[in-house]
Assembly symmetry: C2
Homo-oligomer: 360 residues x 2
C-alpha cells in the first residue's frame, strides 16, 4: 500500500534526533494523549474500554491528535499499548478498571515458553491502520512516532502476568532458567523488530523502544538480558523508508549508570529519566547520540513560575546544542493522569521560549 502523505511542516524533532541544528528545543511528552485531558476521557468513555480504544483506528487517531490541538508539541506518538505484541502472541491481554494490565495466560513453565512464537502481524493490523490514519490526519503538522516495549519489558509482563513491584517471578526464571529467559527474549526481539518495521511501513517517522523495567536489573544482567536484545531490535530496524531516514530512540528507565553502553546500541537517541544530570549525560554520550528527557512529571504540580524555573535549569544543564549534539525535551516518565492541563501550556511555552533564547 504505497501512501502519499503531506510534506512535513515541522521537522524540528527529527532534526534534533539526528543531531542537526534546530531553532529551538523540540518537545513532546510521554503519554501526552492520556487521562489528564478531559477530551481523552470523553473518547475513552465512548470506546467503552481501554482495549476498545486502542484497537479502533478511529478512536486511536482521535486521541493521538488531541494533545496537538491543545499544545504546540513537536511530535505525535501513536496511541497504543506496549502489550499489544504479547497479546497477539496469544497471552490474552485485558485491563480491569483501575488495575492495570493482566494476561490470562502468563508464561510460567517450560512448555508455555517453548510454545511461544513471534505473532502473525495480521493480528496487529489495527495498529498499522491507526498509524496510517494518524499520519494522514496529521497532514504534515509534526512527525509521528511509532513505538514498542523492549523485549525485556514485555517479558516482565508476560511472566508476571501483570505489573509487579519486585519482579520476583520473571527474575526467578532469569536466574534459575536463563535458557528459558533467553528464548522468550529472542522471540520478543524478532517480534518487536517486525512490529516496528511494519509501523514504519505504515507511516511512522521515528520509532521508540520503551525499556520501562530495564532499570530493575542488576549490573551485568541488564546488559545480557535487556540491552543485548534492544541492540538486536535496532540492528533489524529499517534505517530508512522511501528514501527518508527513520531515527530510533531507546529509553531504559533507571539506566543512567549504563549510559555509555546504551549509547552504543545503534539507536540515534537515548531517553533519560530525571535522576540523570543532563549536562553530565551530554559529556558522556552527547557526541554519539541525541538525548531525550528528562523533567520529573511531578514538576507539573507546581505553579507556572516554578515549572519555568525547572525547565530553565534543565535546558541550561544541557547547554547550547552544537553541531554534533541534539536534545529533545520530554518528561522522564509518562505524564501523570492528575496533571492540571494548564500546567502543560506553561511547560511548552517555557521550553520553546527559553531554548530559543539560549541559541540566540
Amino acid at each position: 500500500m504505497p501512501t502519499t502523505f503531506a510534506p512535513l511542516k515541522n521537522d524540528t524533532f527529527l532534526r534534533a534526533l539526528m543531531r542537526q541544528p534546530t531553532d529551538y528545543t523540540p518537545m513532546w511528552l510521554m503519554r501526552q494523549a492520556g487521562r489528564y485531558l478531559p477530551e481523552y476521557r470523553a473518547t475513552r468513555a465512548k470506546a467503552g474500554s481501554f482495549m476498545g480504544l486502542a484497537t479502533n483506528p478511529d478512536y486511536a487517531t482521535e486521541v493521538t491528535l488531541q494533545p496537538l490541538d491543545r499544545y504546540a508539541l513537536d511530535a505525535a506518538i501513536l496511541f497504543s499499548d506496549i502489550l499489544t505484541v504479547p497479546d497477539a502472541m496469544g497471552l490474552g491481554l485485558s485491563f480491569a478498571e483501575g488495575e492495570g494490565p493482566r494476561f490470562a495466560h502468563p508464561l510460567r513453565d517450560e512448555a508455555a515458553v517453548r510454545a511461544l512464537h513471534a505473532p502473525d502481524l495480521g493480528k496487529l493490523q489495527y495498529v498499522f491502520d491507526a498509524v496510517t490514519q494518524i499520519r494522514r490526519e496529521l497532514n504534515g503538522r509534526v512527525p509521528l512516532i511509532g513505538f514498542s516495549g523492549s523485549p525485556w519489558t514485555l517479558a516482565c509482563y508476560m511472566v508476571e502476568g501483570g505489573g509487579s513491584d519486585d519482579f520476583r517471578l520473571v527474575k526467578a526464571m532469569l536466574y534459575d532458567r536463563p535458557d528459558l529467559m533467553h528464548h522468550i527474549l529472542s522471540v520478543n526481539a524478532t517480534a518487536v523488530a517486525a512490529y516496528l518495521n511494519a509501523q514504519i511501513e505504515a507511516g511512522a517517522q521515528a520509532v521508540m523502544v520503551f525499556d520501562t523495567w530495564g532499570g530493575a536489573l542488576a549490573d551485568g544482567v541488564y546488559q545480557a538480558f535487556s540491552l543485548h536484545y534492544m541492540r538486536e531490535v535496532i540492528r533489524q530496524l529499517k534505517r530508512e523508508h522511501e528514501g527518508v531516514r527513520i531515527p530510533s530512540i531507546v529509553f531504559t528507565k533507571g539506566g543512567g549508570l549504563w549510559l555509555e553502553e546504551i549509547a552504543d546500541c545503534g539507536a540515534d537517541a537515548v531517553g533519560l529519566d530525571w535522576t540523570v544530570n543532563l549536562g553530565t549525560a551530554r559529556k558522556r554520550v552527547g557526541h554519539k547520540v541525541a538525548l531525550q528527557g528528562n523533567l520529573d512529571p511531578n514538576v507539573l504540580f507546581a505553579k507556572p513560575d516554578q515549572i519555568r524555573a525547572e525547565v530553565e535549569r534543565l535546558l541550561n544543564s544541557f547547554g547550547k546544542p552544537t553541531g554534533d549534539s541534539g536534545h529533545v525535551f520530554n518528561l522522564g516518565h509518562g505524564i501523570s493522569q492528575f496533571t492540571p492541563p494548564e500546567s502543560v501550556n506553561a511547560l511548552v511555552d517555557a521550553v520553546h521560549q527559553i531554548s530559543r533564547a539560549l541559541r540566540a
Copy 2:
C-alpha cells in the same frame, strides 16, 4: 544507665566498615529477621500484629536473634520499622494486614507541617529497651546495628500517608512549596539524629540510615532534599560511645549516579543496590568509604550453584580488599518474604568460603 555488655567475639563487620583488614567478607541481610523464616511467622502470630511485635522488646529480641541461630551472619540488626519516628510525632502509624503502613494523620497542609516537632524520645523507649535487651542476649556473638529511615524517606510516608508508586503528593509539595518540605526535613533530621544517638547509648554498635526513596528524586533535587539532610544527621551522630567507634552506613536505593556525593556525606560506609557495578563503585569511592551490598535478592530463587556463581561474580568484581578499602556483603534490598530459607545457607557459605579464598 551504664550497661556492661559481653566483649565482642566477631568484629569482622565493624572492621570492614572501618576499612580494616578482615579474614573474609562479613555479611548480613537487609530484613534478615522477617517473614521468610517460619519461626518469625510464629512469633508474629503470638504478637497479634506487626506493631505488637515491633513495640514489645521481648518479641523484638526474639525475632532479631532468629536468623543468627540459623545462619553464620556477621551482624544483627534491630527488628523495628523505619516509621516509628513519625509515629512518635503523632501521625498515627498502623499496618493493615497485607497492605503496608498507613498514617492516620498525614501532612497535607501548611498547618499540619508547621505543627510538626521532633518527638519526645520517651515515646520511643520501647525501641531503646529492645536495643539493650538484644545487645545483652547477643552476648558478644556479633555486633548490633541500629537504624532509622532517612529524613526524605520518612517525609515520603508522612506526606503520602503510606506507600506510593509515583510520590505525587510529596513531590507536589516539594516543587510547589519547597519551604514546607524543608521544614519537614529539618525536623526529621533533628529527630533521626537524636533517635540514632539514643540507640547508640542503648547499645547499638553501628548505625544505618535507610534512604529507600532517595532514588525517586531528580538530579539536583536529591542533593538538596535528601543527601543534605542525611549529611546533617551524620554530622550530629556520636562518632564513638564509651571510647568505641560507632561506624555509620547510608544507603540510597537507586543512588548509584550520585555515589561520589554520597561518599562525601561523612558516613563510614555506603550501601549499594544491584544496579551498581561493585568494581566500578570501588574505583569511584572505595578509598573514602566502605561499600555494602549488592546482590539482587531474587538470586535467592535460583539453585545453590547459581547463587554461588552470582556471589563469586560479585566478590571478584570488588576484588581483594586492601588496606584502604572495605566490603560488607549484603543484598541490594530487603530479602523477599518468599525466599526459601535454605537458599540463605547456600549464600552465607558461598560468601564466606569464596571471600576467604580470594584473600589467600
